[in-house]
Amino acid sequence: MRVRTLGFLFGEAWRNVLRNGLMSLASISTVAVSLCIAASMAICAANLDHVASTLESQLEVKVFLAPGLTEEARQALIQQVTAMDGVQEVRFVSREEALQRLRDRFGEDSILLDAVGDSNPLPDSLEIRATGLQAVKLVALRVGELEGVEEVLFHREVADKLSRITRGLRIVGVLVVSLLLVGMLLIIYNTIRLTVFARRREVAIMKLVGATDWFIRLPFFLEGVLLGTVGAGLAALVIRSGYVWVAASVRGSLPFLPLLPPYPLVNYATALLLCLGAVVGGLGSSWSLRRYLEV
């Protein structure tokens, strides 16, 4: 096939897109919206995963102490913990210090702190660094049994919870994305079917003047690919700017939440979306051509 023929056929495909204005718009926007939803879900899942594994890799156990613990009891507790196997470092955080940390994090006049007022609801706590990932769980278990310990928090638990959420989200995501893909496929299928009907005179004439099968099919096929890719392009634009914005505002307001950095993530997302759009467009139109275009 010659390049200029491809150019001509591409032009024909573009003509079809414009001529079917409303229908093209419908399929492009369906593809765009579907891919936006799909990509958002995928990015959410990726981020939850990332948060979970980041937390998992932090070897810290947080221990909240019972209120009203005497100075001696506290010292004894700290010594006991320090002596444990797998404990590398123990740090005592007083309730005043904890409050100060919150102030630093949220800013002096945050609504949250206003609600707290002058009272300090925070307990004293210990921050224990374990020697390894394995040790974290053991230390957490044993510390929990000690006198004067009210609650043990370690990231493994949070991480496990997040992993479960991620798994759930993945299953839902796969379902939703499959449905969306089927929807995209159907609308492109239908759009191409309409073009084929609209152009059946033209197809008849093409056959008459000796057009080969692929010459007749290619513009329709390209039309589908074009619809899919343009829709995907729109989705990519939304996702790119959307995620960059979200990542920036999360970094501003929830700096402790370890989101994936926007670059190069959005570039991968863009490439993936464009490929997906083109493939779905191509599949949808091929399917339609097999059923409705007799050559």
């Binding site: 200029r4 004439i205 080969t212």
Partner: protein, 228 residues
């Protein structure tokens, strides 16, 4: 060049359109196919450009038997045959120039070739100054001339016209017929299926007469009806 041997065509297993037709057409001939509606004229020409395949019997065009021709070769056969219809079959959203160029683009002709050939055939059919017009801005005769230009722009060996003057007034019909004669003079085989008795009788070319699917008469330099 074209040969039908004992060709029968039955549609849907019931309607007999052609029955046991045997006939040859040589290179450079001008042939009228005449007969009342439903006589099988259209089926006859469709067999030649392989729009239909015979139910039995064989058809050769330029030495190739169409029944054995693989599908992918059919477009190449059609490029050797220009076809003109009663209803012109032009693309309404393209200019005269583009309608004619379309047949060349299909063959992947070079842009230079297209720029050379299209004005030349438009000149031949006398529509050089209407190149930018759209089909609905043209008269029936002009539209048919565009269709004719499209049929010959590929330099086909054969031109088939199926009732080319059916929608035209007599004067315009004569214009079209004269063009077909001109095209034939340049060496192209021309086959015209027609009702136009006055044209057939005036031109005195080979006449193949059909009735109810049968070949009833084949006369060189003949007339529409039996010579009495």
């Amino acid at each position: 060049m074209i040969r039908l041997e004992r060709v029968t065509k039955v549609y849907d297993g019931r309607v007999v359109a052609l029955e046991d037709i045997t006939l040859s057409i040589h290179k450079g001939e001008f042939v009228f196919v005449v007969g009342p509606s439903g006589a099988g004229k259209s089926t006859f020409v469709k067999l030649i450009y392989r729009e239909e395949l015979p139910t039995s019997g064989r058809v050769w065009v330029e030495g190739r038997e169409l029944g054995r021709m693989p599908r992918w070769q059919v477009p190449h056969l059609r490029r050797r045959i220009g076809v003109v219809f009663q209803d012109f079959k032009l693309l309404p959203d393209r200019t005269v120039y583009e309608n004619v160029a379309f047949a060349l683009r299909v063959t992947e002709a070079s842009p230079r070739e297209i720029r050379r050939r299209v004005p030349a055939v438009l000149e031949l059919v006398g529509l050089k100054d209407r190149a930018r017009a759209f089909p609905n801005q043209l008269s029936g005769g002009e539209q048919q001339r565009v269709a004719l230009a499209r049929a010959v722009v590929n330099n086909p060996a054969i031109v088939i016209a199926d009732e080319p003057t059916g929608n035209l007034d007599p004067d315009t019909a004569w214009d079209i017929m004269r063009l077909l004669v001109d095209i034939n003079r340049l060496g192209t085989t021309v086959i015209v299926a027609t009702h136009a008795r006055y044209i057939v009788n005036a031109l005195r070319r080979r006449v193949v007469a059909m009735e109810r699917g049968r070949l009833i008469r084949d006369v060189p330099r003949g007339t529409y009806d039996h010579e009495s």
